[in-house]
Symmetry: C2
Subunit: 169 residues, 2 copies
């Protein structure tokens, strides 16, 4: 088989630049990417324990404890003790958390939707197929979409809270 490295390189690069572009829509919520990502898990997946969240987000338990503390302080989630096991704590999104997450997601995807609006039907076709290919490769069956989302990876950079971020150029 022939070498697909050059294509892989372009796909890789395209994915990175695409996400950087979209990420610029995010900063307005005032919630950091890590918190948004964890929040999305409970908004789309329902209440979760700290351990489940840590596992879903692939971070350590102490890290998730701290993320939850921050989200709770900001009123995005609330803790609920389990009825039968006093060790476990359920994290549930508050209406505010739900709203903030959905709005941020809409804002983020809206930019891309605008970009895509300019495409011809044939281009939409190509992009749709390509997306299916990538979904197949990553083993996703049309997941929740944002659920997994905002990991910094691009992680983007971290975060400072509160103040509005400035944009470039």
């Amino acid at each position: 088989m022939d070498d697909r490295t050059p294509l892989a390189d372009r796909v890789h690069s395209a994915a990175i630049h695409l996400l950087r572009r979209l990420r610029k829509q995010d900063d307005t919520s005032g919630v950091t990417p890590s918190r948004l990502s964890a929040l999305s898990v409970v908004v789309f997946g329902g209440p979760k324990t700290i351990g489940q969240l840590a596992s879903a987000e692939q971070v350590s338990a102490p890290t998730m404890t701290r993320l939850v503390v921050g989200m709770q302080r900001d009123g995005l989630v609330k803790r609920e003790r389990d009825a039968t096991d006093a060790r476990v704590i359920w994290i549930r999104a508050t209406p505010k958390g739900d709203r903030i997450l959905r709005e941020g997601r809409r804002r983020r995807v809206a930019q891309l939707a605008r970009d895509l609006a300019e495409l011809s039907p044939a281009e939409v076709e190509h992009l749709t197929h390509a997306t299916e290919i990538i979904e197949r490769i990553t083993g996703r069956a049309r997941s929740n979409s944002l659920g997994a989302t905002l990991r910094p990876e691009d992680a983007a950079r971290g975060a400072s809270r509160g103040r509005a971020r400035r944009r470039t150029r």
Copy 2:
């Protein structure tokens, strides 16, 4: 025009999952994503000043100063004073820095290349076109590919990184 939000959502999600998958190949180098990204700028673009690097990476000057300190400590780059302007400092990749970056990039993209090797010619076609569309949207003209690369964005393990911010005047 019809609403492209559903497609945008899928493309967004696909890009995120794709990068998370690729990122898992990275952890071996021992270099953080932010440093790798900055390193890629000097490896592929030649010597740069701190200011140019900060601008290229969309981080503040102090942040870049610290990233450079870390890379220098690890032997990935070296500082060189400018011949005509004593204020500027040129950052150049060392052979070690060059090697580490290229190896990491190869390793990262190799995973995707293997995935793509299974595709049919028609699928490669679709993916190629889709990639061109994304490149057009993000305003890239087949850039160096990695140059911009490893921005955390998703940041998976390891560290999360940053976001686009502007420098002070």
